[in-house]
């Protein structure tokens, strides 16, 4: 009987050591769920969700502190994807966090700009170039359309311009099949 107990204890010790070692050595860095959520979020870094960026919002959703319907740039589509990932019910966007807008970019009216650098400090993706008392301009390709540069501007020289429909952005529409007219 003592032999059996000894064997069981030995097995327990060996397994314990293996598990303990793997818990330390094979530890996953970061929060894999938050990263998956972050991959779905649109990365506008606009803060409309109430968090200072997409990653903190993703972490909050993963921790259960935030709801999935607080991201207007992600739209209904984003909510659907998050619901699918987390296995929860789809819900309409929370209007208190804003409503979805067409994708747009910031444009600085360079005649009015006084070169105060406040928008440069506000831009979450460093998409505005310029220096103190020098004209600023937006790198349109990098702009996420978050609108964070609008409030700090003391001369209101920044405007959001919706990205127009042009050839490179054009998409084939979903084919509409004509319905037969029934008298």
């Amino acid at each position: 009987m003592f032999a059996a107990i000894g064997v069981m204890i030995a097995i327990a010790v060996v397994i314990g050591v293996v598990l303990g070692w793997s818990a330390i050595r094979l530890k996953v860095e970061g929060d894999p769920l938050a990263e998956k959520i972050d991959a779905i979020l649109p990365q506008t870094q606009c803060g409309q969700c109430g968090y200072p960026g997409c990653k903190p919002y993703a972490a909050a959703i993963a921790a259960g502190d935030a709801d999935i319907n607080q991201c207007p740039p992600g739209g209904e589509d984003g909510v659907k994807k998050l619901a699918e990932l987390l296995g929860v019910e789809v819900k309409p966007l929370d209007e208190t966090h804003g409503t979805p807008k067409p994708k747009s970019v910031a444009i600085i009216d360079e005649q009015i700009c006084i070169g105060c650098t406040l928008c440069i400090q506000a831009c979450p993706v460093d998409a505005i170039v310029g220096a103190a008392k020098q004209m600023h301009t937006v790198v349109a390709a990098e702009c996420t359309g978050c609108e964070l540069c609008l409030p700090p501007c003391p001369v209101d020289c920044i405007a959001m311009v919706a990205i127009g429909q042009d050839l490179p952005h054009w998409k084939w529409r979903y084919p509409v099949i004509e319905l037969k007219q029934v008298a």
Binding site: K55, D166, L167, H169
Partner: protein, 560 residues
């Protein structure tokens, strides 16, 4: 000549409607009053305008330069004056405007100086640079910049060079007519391709419903010093698709998601070979091309057309007829409907097909898919169109890609055979453009994430750097100010060195401020006239009075 041919799966035997247009002589170029030349004539980056409004340009003068690697220059098709560089409706299914250069022609048709290229003495890269500046693009339909296609990959050569003269699409005869009339020139263009690519196996595939073209090309091939095989391939749509022609001629299949060049085969259209001949031996840029005008017109024919000519001018010269129901650029299977009749001809325009209710009756309404798989039997790319339709319809793009949506060549065979008249190709086009848009969005989001993370990293780094700098300065100042104070506060220092250092810093700051004040003493006070001196004295007296008043309590406060 008894080469073993292979058979690609699927495909259709269609009524070819070639006889309507291929018997008439080539109509010479018409010179419209206005040429609207699109800057997006090719796949890749649009050309960049290098002329200004009001400038006079000559025929063949470069008006927009190639931009980026995959690009080609654009030239004036005739001499005249640049009237506008603005957005104009271009021949595209969307009907959206794009940047175009409008030239008002002067009727002189005056050429720039043309210099033929000696491609034997120039290095291949120099020849390619010249061709890029001469605006050479593939004229088979994809309008891929020719200079890029003529560049051999890492393996140094493309063993097989195929010239595509199959022209499988019904109604279109521009390649047929070009081969009949310009076989010798096409062969010279082919010899340049051979020179640049170093191919050992040169094949020309022509569908067997073009006996005149076959004969002309065989005759011209015999005069060439490189061995060229002109092969009649069975007429079966889409036998002129690059991948289908490769399969027919060589038995090789281009793997999914790869290019023909990955298996050492390069394919050019016969029109491209002719344009290459003109570029090399005449020094002429690509400013005109052969266009078939057919369908609901009085005289269906082939025309040499200047790039930028409005399509309606071609229809007029072929004889307008009443009852037009729209025009297609390209053939009935793969052509795209044009938003307007006055859109300009571009380098990709091989055919202007005028529709009428009699020739192209509108399809009956679509019915549900009954999964008969006739489309799968017809598909030349060995796909499962019914499955692709199911996924595209339900926006299940992941599954659509698993079923190789991007191997679809949009030939239209599936839509043609569908007994339910489902516009299948429209669904595939929708799914493809949606997937491209989403991929673009995803890369943009990834880029934004990276930039945001870098910004956060930069901010913390700047903060720590600033803190380090301040600490270092405080240390050096303390070190500088401590020696003179050492004797005076020797006893106090031992009690609280930190407070002492602070005191020393404050003392130093006060000293600095005083020094600054002294520096700011009035300037230009020497050699003043008596009058000025008096003025200064008055001002100073006033200042002293104000200062004294400010120090005294107010009147009200004095007498409550």
């Amino acid at each position: 000549m008894n080469r073993e041919l292979f058979r690609f799966n699927g495909g259709l035997h269609l009524p070819d409607h070639k006889a309507e247009s291929n018997t008439r002589p080539i109509h010479p170029p018409i010179l419209p009053a206005r040429l609207v030349i699109s800057l997006r004539q090719h796949i890749g980056t649009p050309a960049k305008p290098i002329v200004s409004v009001g400038e006079r340009v000559l025929k063949g003068q470069m008006i927009a330069a190639a931009e980026g690697i995959i690009s080609a220059a654009v030239h004036a098709s005739s001499s005249g004056t640049v009237r506008a560089i603005d957005l104009q409706t271009v021949p595209h299914a969307s009907g959206l405007p794009d940047l175009c250069i409008t030239i008002e022609t002067d009727g002189l048709d005056q050429w720039v100086t043309r210099t033929p290229l000696d491609y034997h003495t120039l290095s291949p890269s120099e020849v390619r640079a010249q061709l890029r500046d001469l605006g050479l693009v593939g004229l088979g339909g994809a309008v891929f910049p020719g200079a890029v296609k003529l560049e051999v990959g890492t393996n140094g050569t493309y063993p097989t060079l195929i010239l595509n003269g199959a022209e499988c699409e019904p109604w279109i005869t521009c390649d047929d007519v070009l081969m009949r009339h310009h076989a010798a020139e096409i062969m010279q263009g082919l010899s340049v391709m051979h020179h640049l690519l170093g191919s050992t196996d040169i094949l020309i595939g022509i569908e067997d419903n073009k006996p005149e073209a076959l004969a002309a090309m065989r005759g011209a091939a015999a005069t060439l010093d490189v061995p060229v095989e002109v092969i009649a391939v069975p007429t079966r749509y889409p036998g002129g698709g690059a991948k289908q022609l490769i399969k027919t001629l060589t038995g090789k299949e281009v793997p999914s998601g790869k290019l023909s060049t990955d298996i050492g085969i390069q394919v050019f259209n016969v029109g491209t070979a002719f344009a290459l001949y003109r570029a090399i031996f005449k020094g002429e840029p690509l400013i005109s091309r052969m266009v078939t005008v057919s369908g609901h017109v009085q005289r269906p024919q082939n025309m040499e057309v200047l790039i930028g000519t409005p399509m309606v001018a071609l229809i007029q010269s072929a004889g307008e007829r009443d009852g037009r129901t729209g025009i297609l650029m390209g053939g009935p299977m793969m052509g795209v409907p044009m938003p307007r009749e006055d859109v300009p001809v571009v380098k990709a325009t091989n055919c202007v097909l005028v529709k009428s209710d009699a020739l192209f009756p509108s399809l009956p309404s679509a019915l549900p898919c009954i999964r008969c798989t006739r489309c799968a039997d017809a598909c030349p790319a060995d796909l499962q169109p019914q499955e692709l339709f199911r996924f595209a319809k339900s926006d299940d793009f992941g599954r659509a890609q698993e079923y190789h949506l991007f191997d679809c060549i949009e030939c239209g065979c599936c839509s043609y055979v569908c007994p339910s008249h489902i516009p299948l190709v429209d669904f595939y086009r929708y799914a493809k453009s949606e997937i491209w848009a989403r991929t673009k969005e995803k890369t943009a989001a990834d880029q934004a994430r990276e930039r945001h993370e870098f910004r956060l990293f930069r901010q913390t780094r700047e903060k720590s750097e600033k803190a380090d700098k301040l600490a270092a300065r405080a240390r050096t100042q303390r070190a500088a100010s401590s020696p003179p104070d050492e004797l005076a506060s020797a006893t106090a220092a031992s009690a609280d060195p930190e407070a002492d250092a602070k005191k020393a810093l404050i003392a130093a700051a006060i000293a600095r401020a005083q020094a600054k004040k002294a520096d700011a003493a009035p300037k230009n006070t020497d050699n003043l006239s008596a009058h000025t001196q008096q003025e200064i004295a008055e001002i100073e007296a006033r200042r002293a009075k104000i200062r004294a008043a400010a120090h005294q309590p107010l009147e009200q406060e004095k007498t409550p």
